[in-house]
């Protein structure tokens, strides 16, 4: 199934009103496309929320999904991107056994090699955090897990900014307001 599919990132901007997330996810559900990751937060524009959604799809389908999402009344803009067009970060959190970390110096070396940082240590557990792309974060998990030291592991949804200069959405909104003005 995945041969001609790619991981696309959708950046969606909406008004901050209840129920939009439901409307957006319903567009995916109706087409049986799974959302791989999802991050929602306030954007740099007051009153506008930003959704960063990743999903495996082919281009035809992701175009249709993007248009259907943008068609929702309170959605301001929706665009889809491939990884090359974005600056992307995810975060991984790893809760490790402090005993195991002290026992085996390879664990610390691995953490350093991946550029991850230790953000808390107590006699029971050690929390490691890593920023990066999905593959690196998963790779670190696999390496640590091989040492049998992982209590818990979690990975955030993706956040991304476009490689362009500013959020085009502000320009769009300005034009809309002027036009109405």
């Amino acid at each position: 199934m995945k041969e001609n599919k790619k991981l696309y990132t959708l950046l969606v901007y909406s008004e901050n009103v209840a129920g939009i997330l439901n409307q957006i996810t319903a567009v995916f559900t109706r087409r049986q496309v799974n959302i791989e990751s999802l991050n929602v937060s306030a954007s740099s524009i007051p009153g506008v929320h930003k959704y960063t959604i990743t999903a495996w799809s082919d281009e035809d389908q992701i175009i249709k999904i993007t248009h259907q999402i943008e068609k929702k009344i309170d959605v301001v803009k929706a665009n889809y991107f491939t990884d090359e067009q974005l600056f992307i970060r995810e975060t991984g959190l790893y809760k490790l056994s402090t005993d195991k970390v002290l026992e085996n110096p390879e664990i610390s070396r691995t953490i350093r090699r991946f550029g991850a940082s230790i953000i808390e240590v107590n006699p029971t557990y050690t929390i490691v955090m890593m920023y990066g792309m999905t593959e690196q974060i998963v790779e670190l998990y696999k390496s640590l897990n091989a040492f049998g030291c992982v209590f818990q592991y979690t990975r955030s949804g993706r956040i991304a900014v476009t490689r362009g200069k500013q959020e085009q959405v502000s320009a769009f909104l300005e034009e809309r307001e002027q036009h109405h003005g």
Partner: protein, 557 residues
Amino acid sequence: MRALQAEGVKTIFGYPGGSIMPVYDALFDYTRGEKKCFDHILVRHEQGATHAAEGYARVSGEVGVALVTSGPGVTNTLTGIADAMLDSTPIVVIAGQVPISALGTDAFQEVDLVGVAQPISKWSYQIRHAEDVAWAVSRAFYIARTGRPGPVVLDFAKNAQVEEIDWEPKKVDFIRSYVPYPKLDDEAVRQAAELINNAKKPLALVGQGVELGNAQEELKAFLEKADIPAGRTMLGLSALPSNHPLNVGMLGMHGNYAVNLKEQECDVLIAIGMRFSDRVTGNTKTYARQAKIIHLDIDRSEIDKNVKTDVAVVGDCKVSLPALTALLNQNSHEEWRESFKELDAMERTKVIEPAIHPKEGPLLMGEVVNAVAEQAQDDAVLVTDVGQNQLFATRYFKYHHKRSICTSGGLGTMGYGMPAAIGATFGAPNRQVCCFMGDGGFQMCIEELGTIMEQKAPVKMILMNNHYLGNVRQWQDMFWMRRKSFTKMMNPCYELIAQGYGIAYQAVTDRKDLAAAVEKMLKTDGPFILECAILEEDNVLPMTPPGMSVNDMKLEI
């Protein structure tokens, strides 16, 4: 009430209940005496209210309004909302809701309306406080009527219905995140014009968008300048008059033979305000592959959704058609147009003549429709239910006037006909409304006979009774080894039913009585039921079998 008044509402189709009582109480004063500004039509089932609102909207171009209570009142409207969504019909459904203090408690007649209506409406919103009313109602009408129209749902919490505030009118005519009329791309228009100017065999496909955009005249100017033959979708039938020389018939599974085959031969296909529904395209993998495709639509998400286009002109056809026409060369495609005639003649001999002028045997649906079409006024409105009655009626009715057809195209809602026809009589009070139904669909909203009785709504009901769910029976015969699984139906005595409601009734079983009976129906003031005893196993032809290519269309089976 004042918010509705501000939106120019004149007619409300509704049904009262617990959670909407404060609104109904206020309505009482606004429907009589000095303050009168609305007609309230009491329907017999909430589904009927939404279909009536749809019929009203379709013929009048105004927003139809349905007013219902919470819980079952509003779940009964969901079919109508979904229907209006698929057929881009502007309606506003206002439903009661339990007070916000009771939300989420599974209170009596509570249902998560915004949740259930969201995927089948253009916008749905819960009014939680009285101060939201003016804004929400104005926004609802603005959204319903602008851009690509559609249904809007307002979920009106009971506390908000009774809270007292100082009335401040609010007019919504701008939503920054919503662009109802996209700006025309001049380059796309230029490319489209170039394709059309160089076309040898252009073919236009006309949809309801032309009616919704009120661009019937702009369409004619466009077609006439470049001499382009045009097929119409079922919902777009009255966008171009039947007798227009460039009209080449109806598209789709049971449309006209020539235009379906010519879709596979044209070199440029120009789709105007239509959405390439599967009933029109058949198998999209083989559909019009030889042609360059130009798609004019107001809704960008329709572009490339079902059929890949070469040039997309996104915008209101009231604007895009004249812009395109201005760049067209005066042209003539006589040879191409003439080439339709041979296929038309085949269809006429094999299908049309036997259907509308049969010599013997029981009555056929085609001849009944034809008999009504021959006597109906030029601006008569055709309303259909769904099934064979719909296919025969849309094929053989004649359209001379814009906004002359109400039919459930996308959702295919049986039971739509009767209530939609009621709505049409209010939306176009001076026009004849002829409603064709089968015995299946007639019984699906049969309760609305009560509304017709009470309102004396002049619906001319043509009940084409074949004692079958005919369309499904036809498919069973064609594709399911003639196994007629639950399509034969025992019917009540419709004459007694008509009597019970005090509605004029006549039965026709014999061909020689048909014309006189139709005349009597059309001359009778008020509602009329004309029951026609139809050949039990009549088939709608031609037909493109489901999933096949449009050029596999069959004239006979």
